[in-house]
Symmetry: D2
Subunit: 336 residues, 4 copies
Amino acid sequence: MVRFALFGAGFIGQVHGGNLATHPHTRLQYVYDVNAEAAQRLAGRYGANVARSVEEIFGAEDVDAVLIASSTNTHADLLRAAIRARKPVYCEKPIDMSLDRVKAVVQEAHDNPVPVMMGFSRRFDPNHRALREAVRAGEVGVVEMIHMVCRSAAPPPLSYIQVSGGQFRDQTIHMFDLLCWIAGQEPVEVYATGSSMMDPAITAAGDVDTSMLILKFADGALCHIDNSRHTGYGYDERIEVFGSQGLVESRRKPVREVALYKGSKVVEEGMFAGWFERMEPSFLLAVEAFAAALEGRAGAEYPTLMDGLRAQMIAEAAVESLKRNQPAPIEYWQPA
Amino acid sequence: MVRFALFGAGFIGQVHGGNLATHPHTRLQYVYDVNAEAAQRLAGRYGANVARSVEEIFGAEDVDAVLIASSTNTHADLLRAAIRARKPVYCEKPIDMSLDRVKAVVQEAHDNPVPVMMGFSRRFDPNHRALREAVRAGEVGVVEMIHMVCRSAAPPPLSYIQVSGGQFRDQTIHMFDLLCWIAGQEPVEVYATGSSMMDPAITAAGDVDTSMLILKFADGALCHIDNSRHTGYGYDERIEVFGSQGLVESRRKPVREVALYKGSKVVEEGMFAGWFERMEPSFLLAVEAFAAALEGRAGAEYPTLMDGLRAQMIAEAAVESLKRNQPAPIEYWQPA
Amino acid sequence: MVRFALFGAGFIGQVHGGNLATHPHTRLQYVYDVNAEAAQRLAGRYGANVARSVEEIFGAEDVDAVLIASSTNTHADLLRAAIRARKPVYCEKPIDMSLDRVKAVVQEAHDNPVPVMMGFSRRFDPNHRALREAVRAGEVGVVEMIHMVCRSAAPPPLSYIQVSGGQFRDQTIHMFDLLCWIAGQEPVEVYATGSSMMDPAITAAGDVDTSMLILKFADGALCHIDNSRHTGYGYDERIEVFGSQGLVESRRKPVREVALYKGSKVVEEGMFAGWFERMEPSFLLAVEAFAAALEGRAGAEYPTLMDGLRAQMIAEAAVESLKRNQPAPIEYWQPA
Amino acid sequence: MVRFALFGAGFIGQVHGGNLATHPHTRLQYVYDVNAEAAQRLAGRYGANVARSVEEIFGAEDVDAVLIASSTNTHADLLRAAIRARKPVYCEKPIDMSLDRVKAVVQEAHDNPVPVMMGFSRRFDPNHRALREAVRAGEVGVVEMIHMVCRSAAPPPLSYIQVSGGQFRDQTIHMFDLLCWIAGQEPVEVYATGSSMMDPAITAAGDVDTSMLILKFADGALCHIDNSRHTGYGYDERIEVFGSQGLVESRRKPVREVALYKGSKVVEEGMFAGWFERMEPSFLLAVEAFAAALEGRAGAEYPTLMDGLRAQMIAEAAVESLKRNQPAPIEYWQPA
């Protein structure tokens, strides 16, 4: 049984809180949020304690691990505090918006190793995971091309877009992580281009809402990713890996398997309304992986802080490429 | 919040116990099982009380409703006790193996009305439910033909088959209920035939393992059901409704949406390993429907004791038809 | 090169005429029709000769084989004439409406063997054929259940229904042939029931338009067939074979593989408008099989006169069962 | 009835020859090939004449149109001869390998207009065509992203690759034409990258075998195309159009609709073995479109010489981008 303290009682904090409270191997011990009322509400629902300060949590003996689901600008400090307190930590992405601060955290974790899991929950989607297993098992031979589709049903609030660092840093970053995880290698170059087609306010915020990227691996393999901030048909995320001997794909998942045949058409149920409806089960599986690792049980490998760093560095190169409309090399910084 | 006492801590009792304990509108208050150790284990996991006797439960003030998931031969007595104690009751099917005892219970409930829900959880499967909504909304016009497929991945233990009353009474009964619920009317005649193809022990038990039935409605609409006690490919349950203007189907649900293209073939993920893996989410939805009704919240209509009686009477006619290899009329007894 | 004379220049005669004229191994040499103008039109299109009489064809030296696509009441006489003239013959189903006349033809062919192919063209549908190959290769183990769906988009003209012998003799007969061909054995009993739901004129003609049958094999395997004279969604013909180790199905074939995702739905292309649009390619494949056999080339086995007899005898039992609402044994007459 | 002379009796010439000979509105009048034997064989099969020279054809009064299916280096001269002889011409792509010669032909056709159809037969694929109709009808709203997949089952002979001008000029060119036809506008910039992963001989020939391109339209819409010279699973060509209100896709087309359920998997029939097996029906539909236009019948619009020029100019820009690893502007030359 792993006793967790949770930072953040917002939307994603509530998701994690519920999972930590009901999972047979975890317990929701403390909740902290700058909004004390929100913390109280969440803690109350599951019989957890409300922490009055961050320090209370890191000093508590009945806390085995922490989960950081608070706003992005708090991640780095909380990560460092957890590292210093020797508390294993599950942290939502990204590490920080500033690459310098990211490097500082990574360096500190390198010097004082504690289990750190980055919340790349898509790795735990059963479809994506089965695709990756097929690829790693050589089912498609040598990987030659990868396709990733990542399309939100609707844009996030403009206020979020203004601080998120842009489409590559907040949306595509999940794909960057999945890409490396699936391919078993890191891309060396990226070309990114995009447009702002749907909302002048997004243009004004300096961001694109419709983008395509081509990433190149050292062995010549290519990856294409497309992103959109809206669709007319729900949330759409798919992956296709094309190899020398075959192709494997993680397809669209329909909400229901019901079809109506009428006239010359067949009408089937479509996609999930949003990313959360589609990806919800992966959050519990992600927590399970971390709990299993901390308890020494067999479980899925989890994404680390270095994986978080890697995905962010790809995003940086993509931003650079977009700005200059030229392919950009991707540099991978390593802690000393 | 509806406080439930649970009878039965076996497999299906554990499923209900977990749902009652974690659903936001229900609480698992007591567990009772003739196997006290099993009751203790289940109650302990969720902080519920162990009842030492049936009477303790029906006399308890902190019990708002009961859920009967104990063995079939206890259902009728527990139902009657609940009716007398004015406790709403959720009861797993069937009501009883003896039609006389079934009628006695129905009569008693008729005379002393208490909310009684029969555990026809398949009504809460989202696929089946969407199909039914399409039919009831007239999407396919007048219903002319219905197809139902109900195939277990593997036979139940022989000991169960020997007391279950046969394939129609224990397996097809779910389809009989779904059929009436979807069609909005009751069949008037049934022809049933079957074979024992897979295991001489099933033959020796006097049962069939492979069967087909045709049911006829008063307006001429026809329904076909097939049943098998095993498949070579997991659990397979499907429904298709053909009407004067179109067709709607509740299709197979794959475990994952992953496909491998290789050579001249595409290999996709198949079916769930068993009925429970496939139908698990419907149990929670069923409990939610009952809780909503008891609390006066909006929710799905639930199957009643009369629905349980009806399904059993169709099963009786099917057994009769199988025995005589002739179509049999279906008679619907009503409480006076 | 097999030189064919064609009897019948109606719809199906025109289909065969075009195939015989353009197939690299056949030639359309003569066309005969009681409607001389229709014969002339068809012959003219492909540079074939018009025969002035049936006798002219059976006496012609430049005729290697005949294809009978004229009206049903001419089949028996033409078949006998062909047998006597030692001309191989491809004959559309049925042999004749009278079972006595059918037996007489079969007996004569038995006494004077000539290659006779019955036009069960559905055996040449690539989907059905692949299904059968899987079954015969043991891919699904021992066959336990078969499902066949046979639903016309729209009823034939009432004038046809009045003389066709009813739904089992004109529509289901294709399924009876496919069933034996796939199962590799013959059913021994049939239960048939039906309704007349769509058109009082069909009722008045003494026929059903909506029907279901269960056929039983000696080893206990069961087959279900449903039939409809109309659908709201085009032509629907499917087969599913369930065995002890798996299931194989010949699925619906969409007109096009195009899908529109919009809102919460996916709209795909539906079914072919009618049986001919769906089954058209199988007619050429059927002619190819017969030509190959006559030329001694490797080719698909073709359905024989005995297969035609067998299918008709199953239809007779089905008609009997429908009339008496009881299962009927199926008797297979053999030529002496 | 349009009487055609055919240049070229190789593989694609034979396909066209058969179609011209059997289509009800066209006749195969002459065949010419530098290989007189090949011309004789093809003409003989359909009762056509063998032309002894190119001049004979352009001087013949019984030739209404010509179809150029000879080797690429003959296209320009034959096109010019046809234009001068006022013979409508159906020409396989490309116009010529040299852009200067292409421009000269286009200029001449501009000055002396004759109907010229470029053999972009994929426009006539029923799936692609239905997709385009949905897009043009506004079903998906404003087009924002397009995806095209174009993967050959196996590379062409090395001798062909050495003279074909590379993957973009011989393979992707079909996609460039489809793209403009579907989008109703022309891309203004292209970024192309590629690798040579499968065969050192292709590398030695200076070509790539695995490539990805991003094309940008003036309104910000983006298009991605991927190409491969081999797959492990047959021919794969797909298109997906994502718009502001929905998505439409021209999906993979399976060879047969047959599925085997066994164990935890479903095995379905895969893709066509090669591009020709997949695209064969579109060749006849393409000829029909041209014949209809020449006869003044209603029919599908056909791709013109200007469309051929446009696709080649996009290919030139793509080659330039690949060489320099930078996005390249696309320039569209117009005849004066």
